[in-house]
Amino acid sequence: MFTAWLFDLYPSADGITLWFVDAEGRKHRGYARFTPSLYLHLDVRHADRIARLLRTFPVTVRSATKREIYSNTDWPVLQVTVGSTAHFKNVVRLLEQHLPHYVFFNSDIPIAQLFLYDTGLFPLAFGTYELAPDGCLLAWQLQDANDAMEYTFPPLTILTLKNRPDVVSPKFRKNLQLEITYDGSTYGLESSDPHDVLSSLERHLQRCDPDVILTEYGDAVLLPMLTRLAAEHQVPLSLNRDAGSGYITSHASSYFAYGKIVHKDGAFELAGRWHLDIENSFMMGEASLDGVTEIARLTQLPVQHQSRATIGTALSSMQLSWAYRHGYLIPAHKREPEDFKSADILLLADRGGLIFQPEMGYHEEVAEMDFVSMYPTIMVTHNVSPETVNCRCCRNTAVPELGYTICEKREGIVAATLRTVVRRRGIYKKEKKRLKALKDPRWTLYDHRQTALKWMLVTCFGYLGYKNARFGRIEAHESVNAFSRDAILQAKEIAEGHGFHFIHAIVDCMWLKRSGATEADYEALAREVSEKVGIDISLEGIYNWILYPPSKMDPRIPTANRYVGWYTNNEIKIRGIEIRRRDTPVFIKRVQGELLKILGEGKTVADLRGLLPAVLAKAKESLDLLRSGKADPLDLVVRRHLSQEADEYTNRSANAIVAQALAEAGVHLAPGESVEYIIIDATGKRHPEKAKAVALYSLDDGYDIVKYTEMTLKAVETLLFPFGYDAETLKNMWYPVPPRIHRPVARRHVREQGELFNSSREAG
């Protein structure tokens, strides 16, 4: 018997192999017997047939009843219990050859997850565990719960393993140079003979015996390469703590999500240690290890799996666990189709969140109020879930405009699982704020945790409408939108009742003004709206001025979610314009940032007019530098996502040219990965190469002055259009004749680093 944290788990010949770490950092290995079940929606008469079919496997087949989530009725099913985790997949595969897909339930959940759902255990569960002499888990007593707000963390040994740092990412390199860091020391391993490097790595692994191996590009490049070389050179490599286990790997994929191609590297997971690849983990990047473990505990996804999973997978795991605990059948495929609706209802239902277009230009004395976690709050408070919307047991017209019914008799799966997330994030946010005020460094822990949860809340609404979400449904998605429109309209009515004027609204944010209104007036309004609407709304701040820039399509109208403004407390908020976009070259970001700094001195629109000469002078100064050829080419790097494989491009776009040039240089980039390049001749007239990848760029290549001038002027136009300066006007005013040099050979400059606006507010 020992007290420890459950560290790692994976299926094995014994059932589930378990690793524990105790407070002294000692590792304990054990295993659990586990006999997972799947269910077949088949009559008991089929039981013999199924048993015969599976006679070569250690299975039992018996009839049972389980609850179906949509109808909320008990279904007769056949329960197939597999005596060994190793056979589960094969049993499912064999059955699939003989039975239609729609009879399968609980058949496609990863075994380790199923084990956690079944036992109620979770990653890093702290408790007292009792193992038999052969390691079999006999009993446990947790001093922890997966939804506990305060929890402890085992002492973990961390080894960082990376390719030696270089300006070029490991994807673009081939030779073996490693850098290892642990216990405060860093070791560089380098040799022309891989055998030496690998042997040395193995000595470090033995000496350090890390719990966590942190890498950059470990999934895609580093670990596959090291294991391949180790096999070739016959060097033992103890990446796994469990020497008897293989590596758990999966392939890279490119998939279509949210309107663009996304690339995901494959996974390379270890047995008995965690391999965390910070370049292949959204959560590590956003919320560090604190965020990863927070979500792993909550969702019961093993840590290595969680770190690589999409937020959708995390949400899904919470729902699967909830369904499992409540005895609901979990369909192998989402089948629930959209209800038939008349086209007039569909026209109402198909609308998204509400948008009131603002007037293009500068506005002064405007306040912004945001509903806090609007969508998840709606789902939780109105019980919006796939099985509760238009349930078969209640009669009401709870959903505004659409008149859909929402169940009054049971809490829905989405509402139930999100409730926890919403509550936790609220508490963590408060704790972060409290500790930060006390200058207690632990505030970052709570910040990481709340950030991780924030992503679940941001994603949950989209996931509800996602076609492959197991517990998603269009009517639930439509209902949330209908409630959100209703909430904004209610807020508008209340505000207007107090003499406020509505400037602009997007879905869950609104901008309003009343001449001379104070912060206290807005706070009072926020309290009233929160109370009447049932969703908290907070005063984000009062702007000295806010700009809604013209849209690229039609300069007379603005675009939703593109604005910039200075708050009265000297913070700036920027959305959607060039300086915030990841694909904008640093040079242009810097120009726009400098202009915004100058404009920040103005408190009113009249002040801004007074600042125009200074703004114009600053813009021209930067453009003159660009046109002299002295701009730093590294500041002109353009970043774009690839939409297809290099050899699939049929056009001669800069993306295509750069991807093909890289491919020729031996660097393969998949759709969804990004390329970085410098434009050398956008027209392709003087130089057919158009653009050069940063990795292949030399200073002699220069840059395209005309193109970068045009791009910079566009960014200036964004800010100055309301004062009558568009890019064309500025160009004619400053540079009426084309430049003498088009593609200067650049000189590299030492440049200032650092953020332009340290006080800039982050989203959410």
Binding site: E96, Q97, P100, H101, Y102, H333, K334, R335, E336, P337, E338, D339, F340, K341, S342, A343, D344, L346, L347, D350, K467, N468, I474
Partner: protein
């Protein structure tokens, strides 16, 4: 002459299964074919697996087409839509829900857009796909027995995984009448009269142009001809 598909669909006895395939104008054409039923105040049911169903186009169509017997709102209230985004949903809606719904609403006309589109997704195993298509075809036969006419509109452009290329010809083979828009467009543009009829086959005859149509992208030439045709039909309906 443009109206021949539409007219045939209208004139056909209840319980006829129609297939029409070609470029993306098939969807508009199908809607126009059902428009007549709609303006009579008779409900129409639509299953959309193509994710291309143009709700706002339909609203516009209703505004322009309705009159006399029913208002645009009445027309919109009389067309029932279910959209499917995965092949499992498509199979479920057609094989398990459609017949009961149509009976319940007394809707004598069913339109199906992109019956197979979701089945081309290689995430779905071939065995699930085959079963799904088989169950849907059985459901269509059930509708036919109930006296419900079905118009299955499919595009045959865009990539189809090799193992799934036989699905569309298979489905079209199960229809009572099939129109190949590409052939119609071609003939119409080239030789003129009777083009519409040339593309259509009676039950039992080999459908010769099916193979040619596969994998051959629309030239702008053909699709423009077709779009004009549909526009013409829309005009004549409005008139």
């Amino acid at each position: 002459m443009h109206l021949s598909i539409v007219e045939q669909f209208r004139a056909a006895p209840p319980g006829t299964l129609y297939g029409v395939h070609g470029d993306s104008s098939v969807f508009r054409l199908a809607l126009i074919a059902a428009g007549y039923t709609l303006v009579q105040g008779v409900p129409v049911t639509l299953v959309d697996g193509s994710n291309r169903f143009d709700l706002y186009g339909l609203a516009e169509f209703a505004r322009r087409t309705a009159g006399g017997r029913c208002t645009p709102d009445e027309l919109l209230r009389n067309i029932f839509v279910s959209r499917a985004f995965t092949c499992y949903q498509m199979e479920a809606v057609i094989a398990e829900r459609l017949r009961a719904f149509v009976r319940d609403r007394k809707s004598p006309v069913v339109l199906i857009f992109g019956l197979l589109d979701t089945f081309y997704d290689e995430q779905a195993p071939l065995r699930d796909v085959r079963l799904g298509v088989q169950r849907m075809m059985q459901a269509l036969q059930g509708l036919k027995r109930d006296g419900v006419s079905v118009l299955v509109a499919s595009t045959d452009v865009g990539p189809v995984p090799p193992a799934r290329r036989g699905l569309l010809p298979g489905v079209m083979g199960g229809m009572d009448k099939v129109f190949d828009m590409k052939r119609i467009g071609h003939r119409e543009h080239g030789t003129g009269p009777s083009g519409m009829m040339a593309g259509h086959r009676e039950k039992g005859k080999r459908h010769s142009s099916m193979k040619e149509g596969q994998g051959e992208n629309d030239s702008g030439h053909h699709s423009r001809g077709m779009a004009d045709g549909v526009q013409g039909e829309l005009q004549s309906l409005v008139a």
